[in-house]
């Protein structure tokens, strides 16, 4: 059994939406919970996929785990240390161990710096290697991400999407991290390049023993790269378990809808039932992301086909009984009254 490298317990992150001096003085303004009590852990050298629709809080989890933003409450234990209590200065040496690949291809690539300078800077953040050592490491990094030497003199704007992504990955690898949060690493890329990057990430994991938190809405890719998958809905994990179980034997109705909508696009048979229900949900909630007025009880109830089938049981909308994650065997957890 490998070691647990990251353990997240009851993580919460709220954004207060206060703008302007007046609302600031009166203290008015909304508080929007982006992440609402999330717990999970990552073992060394494994990949955990985090899926869900846009706005469900997956990116916020990634950022909070690395403390790019401070959590409202909860613990994030990285390698035995709770990083939520560390000061900025104490945190900096830990930064080299946990890195993030951002969705935006330009993240970290200063438009006014050449690729060589970007990599050099990354190599010298945490240590002071000699020039020869830097040159050697840059060559090594280029090799790891299969990028041509000639690109070193380029500015980011002169690179293609795939090359930018590779430079971004090289920049992250420069500090020799152990944990990488990959936030939608392929969504900004062309299909043929996506496959290259997915392969590259898997190679690097094997080669360097990396641990990934793989955030994506691309379900087949997540299923391919992850050992475990967590499904998020409106700031909560509603189901988590082994990738193949999540994909093929989902217990939570939302997971079912996610995967079947993928199949829907491909097959000509229309799953009328799911469609009706989801259309109804738009009617009910004015779009999906109503954080201000989450349905009381189970927050998925307004969109839930099961809820409808079961004749709208009161337990689903009872504010006192929001379904909690419970184990249904083999470490597969699900937050549904009827799973």
């Amino acid at each position: 059994m490998t070691r647990t490298i990251l353990e997240v317990t009851d993580l919460r992150k709220e954004y207060s939406q206060r703008r302007g001096l007046i609302s600031m003085l009166t203290g008015q303004g909304r508080v929007i919970p982006a992440v609402d009590g999330v717990s999970f852990y990552l073992r060394e050298n494994e990949t955990v996929g985090l899926v869900g629709e846009s706005g469900c809080g997956k990116t916020t989890i990634g950022r909070t785990v690395l403390r790019l933003t401070d959590p409202s409450s909860g613990r994030v234990v990285f390698d035995g240390r709770d990083i939520t209590t560390l000061s900025r200065a104490e945190l900096r040496p830990l930064r080299r161990e946990m890195q993030m690949i951002f969705q935006d291809l330009d993240a970290g690539l200063n438009p006014k710096m050449r690729v060589r300078d970007i990599l050099r800077e990354a190599l010298t953040v945490h240590e002071r290697p000699s020039d020869a050592e830097i040159a050697r490491r840059i060559r090594e990094l280029l090799e790891q991400v299969s990028l041509k030497d000639s690109k070193l003199a380029n500015f980011p704007s002169e690179l293609s999407g795939g090359e930018k992504r590779r430079v971004g990955i090289a920049r992250v690898l420069a500090v020799r991290p152990r944990l990488i949060v990959a936030d939608e690493p392929t969504s900004a890329l062309d299909i043929s390049i996506q496959a290259q990057v997915v392969n590259l990430l898997r190679d690097l994991q094997k080669e360097l023993g990396l641990t990934y938190l793989f955030i994506s809405h691309d379900l087949p890719v997540v299923e391919l790269v992850s050992q475990k998958v967590a499904v998020m809905y409106l700031g909560r994990i509603v189901e988590m378990g082994l990738a193949e179980n999540i994909a093929h034997q989902p217990r939570h109705p939302y997971t079912g809808i996610l995967w079947s909508s993928l199949a829907d696009k491909q097959t000509t048979e229309v799953n009328r039932r799911v469609n009706d229900v989801t259309v109804e949900s738009e009617r009910r909630t004015w779009g999906v992301f109503d954080f201000e007025h989450p349905a009381s009880g189970c927050r998925f109830a307004p969109r839930c086909p099961l809820y409808k089938d079961k004749g709208r049981p009161a337990v689903c909308t009872d504010p006192a009984s929001e379904p909690q994650l419970r184990d249904v065997g083999h470490g597969h957890v699900v937050a549904c009254h009827f799973a």
């Binding site: 703008r19 935006d104 200063n110 953040v125 945490h126």
Partner: protein, 297 residues
């Protein structure tokens, strides 16, 4: 008719061209003219500061009043007291040059600090700074200057402090906007994630690498503003006083003879103002188009 021509070359040779090759010719003209003006102004300032003038600016020649250009050794003619206009124009630069630099320094430094606080720290700072900007924008600049003159004294350095402070909001907004743009690209966040200390991110990545062009542009535009304010005040009689020359008081003094048909003593400094302000403005705009990619199309 618009022409599009491909540079001849074989496959794989269409590398990025040098800036001057892909720039709009008009922008190059703007910048070229602006640089010329800057060079002339700086050189003239030096000449004035060391007193290397073509003629004594205070020497009166009552026999040669309001002379036309090229009259007996006076390349630009003489004014109403027969003083050499060329020498006085050169000396007039003293009136705004250092004060203008002071104003620019205040607005660039102050604006950068405010902009970084607003853009980088955000939240409270952003709100407070927005209100501060709005507050400064509420005063017509010249009225505020007159208020300061009334309260303190008609000193150009006091005035330029006001000009500098009122110039801060523009720069603060531009920098905050630039930071917002970089943030949107997750740039700031990625730098933090890598473990770069905040001061490196702010000073190196944001200010030096991404805002320097913008600050140079704003500084040139700021100089145009400073010249405008100085000449206006001198014209109104609050700036440099006769017999010390300033472009503004030269226009004012010459204007008394304007309606008699003696345009030149007033027009020469006016043209100097026009050419200089235009130079700084065109330089700013041209650089904006070239460096910041703000195309007119």
């Amino acid at each position: 008719m618009r022409r599009y021509v491909q540079t001849p070359g074989s496959i794989g040779e269409f590398s990025e061209l040098a800036l001057r090759q892909r720039a709009e010719p008009l922008d190059l003209v703007y910048v070229g003219y602006g640089l010329l003006v800057v060079a002339v102004v700086v050189a003239s300032y030096m000449l004035g500061a060391f007193g290397w003038l073509p003629d004594d600016p205070q020497a009166m020649n009552v026999g040669l009043i309001n002379a036309a250009p090229f009259t007996s050794g006076h390349v630009l003619g003489t004014d109403f007291l027969g003083r050499d206009l060329q020498a006085r124009l050169i000396l007039g630069i003293q009136a705004y040059f250092l004060p203008g630099l002071l104003a620019i320094t205040i607005s660039v430094v102050g604006g950068s600090i405010l902009g970084i606080l607003a853009g980088y720290r955000g939240g409270w700072f952003d709100t407070i700074i927005t209100y501060f900007d709005n507050l400064l924008d509420s005063f017509p600049r010249l009225v505020l200057i007159l208020l300061v003159i009334a309260a303190f004294k008609a000193d150009i350095y006091y005035v330029m402090v006001v000009v500098g402070i009122t110039g801060m909001p523009v720069i603060a907004n531009l920098i905050a906007g630039k930071i917002a743009f970089l943030r949107q690209k997750s740039f700031v966040e990625a730098a933090h994630a890598l473990g770069l200390p905040a001061h490196t991110v702010i000073l190196k990545h944001i200010l030096w690498l991404n805002c320097r062009a913008l600050l140079v542009i704003q500084a040139t535009l700021g100089m145009a503003e400073a010249i405008l304010v100085e000449t206006s005040l001198s014209y109104l009689g609050f700036g440099v006083q006769e017999p010390t020359p300033s472009w503004g008081n030269m226009v004012q003094a010459g204007a008394n003879y304007f309606l008699q048909g003696n345009f030149w003593p007033s027009t020469a400094p006016a043209l100097a103002i026009l050419a200089t302000i235009l130079g700084f403005q065109l330089l700013g705009d041209g650089l904006n188009n070239l460096l910041e990619g703000k195309r007119r199309r």
